[in-house]
Symmetry: C2
Subunit: 389 residues, 2 copies
Amino acid sequence: MLDPLWCLTHVNGMKQKFSFQLHATSGKARRGTISTPRGDIRTPAFMPVGTAATVKAMLPGSVRETGADILLGNTYHLMLRPTAERIDHLGGLHKFMNWERPILTDSGGFQVMSLASLRKMSEDGVMFKSHIDGSKHHLTPERSIEIQKLLGSDIVMCFDECPALPAGLDEIARSMRMSMRWAERSRVAFGDRPGHALFGIQQGGLDQGLRAESALALKNIGFEGYAVGGLAVGEGQKAMFDVLDFAPDQLPLDKPRYLMGVGKPDDIVGAVARGIDMMDCVLPSRSGRTGQVFTRRGVVNIKNARHQDDPRPLDEFCSCPACSNYSRAYLHHVFRSHEIISSMLLTWHNLHYFQELMRLMRDAIDIDSFADFQARFYAERALGDVEPL
Amino acid sequence: MLDPLWCLTHVNGMKQKFSFQLHATSGKARRGTISTPRGDIRTPAFMPVGTAATVKAMLPGSVRETGADILLGNTYHLMLRPTAERIDHLGGLHKFMNWERPILTDSGGFQVMSLASLRKMSEDGVMFKSHIDGSKHHLTPERSIEIQKLLGSDIVMCFDECPALPAGLDEIARSMRMSMRWAERSRVAFGDRPGHALFGIQQGGLDQGLRAESALALKNIGFEGYAVGGLAVGEGQKAMFDVLDFAPDQLPLDKPRYLMGVGKPDDIVGAVARGIDMMDCVLPSRSGRTGQVFTRRGVVNIKNARHQDDPRPLDEFCSCPACSNYSRAYLHHVFRSHEIISSMLLTWHNLHYFQELMRLMRDAIDIDSFADFQARFYAERALGDVEPL
């Protein structure tokens, strides 16, 4: 039998390219499609995080059912376990984790900073010790790109340094400029890979001038897409939105713009309103495991005793399996009983909610009614959760 | 829309009864169907255990996909959390856990003995403290039946005492006779419930005479089915098979025979060969969570380093999602990484394997070739796992 993916990549020559089409705008919000040999990505897109070659507590088919077009994989985790070379020998990350659609991988830099110990940074790259077994590793722009190639990533991210905020302007500038030199090394290391993309990452903290300098440096190198990096690192929503009021405009109009590590539903809506096309966050899956549930009417904490006799679904308008088949009382019971099905159902619900949010935004942009969507979004949240019975 | 279950129970009057038909035998092995208003149970049947209103790490639809016709629920766990009264108010256990097909509940007695603390046994019943919150509870035959009714169980088990082996013959006899008095009290408490069944439980340890006395007492009371109790409590396979060489023959031919808490694949084959129709065990789900996998060629420990580069499935002939979509290398990786998908996939595989085993036995009995099936079963196991690459 012909492999469908083979057909897609080899028979349909049109699909071999990586490309981005912008279909519509509504205010600054953008509606588009990223085309890749492994399938289209409808933007604005939310990418669930599959850290260690799995979106935690979900089968890949279920992730797809929620509406996800693309997953994010973490270079840092995968290089340590099971290792990029092993995944390569086994046929690449898509085959390994049974996800045939596009995968974006981060560069590993961010998690070296947040998870590894004994980090030593230099112009060349960063030395660190694995948080799993203490083994020593050296990550450079060249090695990060090599790992992402071994994984078979469709969208590869430049290796950069993401300084923790707050930091002095000098430090932000120094770090950004090194990241721009690393972006150039990443571009060279990536080479020519039709159907695959390399994204540059804008840095510069909260400073408009440094952000502009960074954007210019990236545009001069030239990338298939551009990320707004260095946000969602503790600066708060207002500061983030202030940056997003100018940062996306500094990037090319005709390429996808990716806001890394964002976020909460209202972060996402605010980012899309400011011209962001792609986002990723562990929030829906991590919250699913801790009993925090996202609904149109805000956050529900399923462990709260108010749910223990409640026959109603989490959200009467939600069509996910948790809402279609189970009461709040059941979800409360299995969460309290530490049953795995609790993580499975609540993660599914949260991912479904996030993808529905993206779909509603895409639909609103298509008919140039994003402002109306935003008004409804905030009005529904203002209602708060349904009253206890 | 008409509820399919309503149609099943109300339109088709034929289906309202609980009944058992024996279709074929092969040696002592029996092929039959238990009919209930909630659907048929093909026997020999293996019942996955849904302890706390969930088969751990599985969605009910997935359990059904493995071929399960019926689940087992644990009275002890459910009475403590979320409580039988709560489940009743929420519409019963089937609705609560989203499993519309038959459910058998145990009486709670066995787990009071294995899990609760400060037990105090009397002719009336047993006082104990919850292992969850230390709360005090009193379980009697009447209360056990009441709880199982509140849960909405299709097959209710008599409340009995299951003495730990080894025990002296006097103690076994005393305990068995009290269980027979409790069986009578259970029968009275159960009353007349069309479409539902009450099963008696044979006791008597390893002693043929006591087993005969117990069987006679149960037959005199009269039940819709009969369990062989008091086995799989540490006596070993040989001792269990020795009892199964005579115990099922002491029970009525025309009623289902249920061996409680069994077991490993070869226990199951040996039990079916000796005339058992139903079994349950936590083994496939519990082993799934600890990385122990059952295949035609025996047990595979996925945590073993030999699997880390192995691109082959657990079992090339298995059609479960774990074997269809993933390599041993992936399953090894997610097990080692403590990822929830490991429990999900390995549990699914194990339940699939157990249900396939039942299907193969049913097919073999249908064509009176159970001895051939047994020969193939042991020959395949003797091969051992595939050689490392």
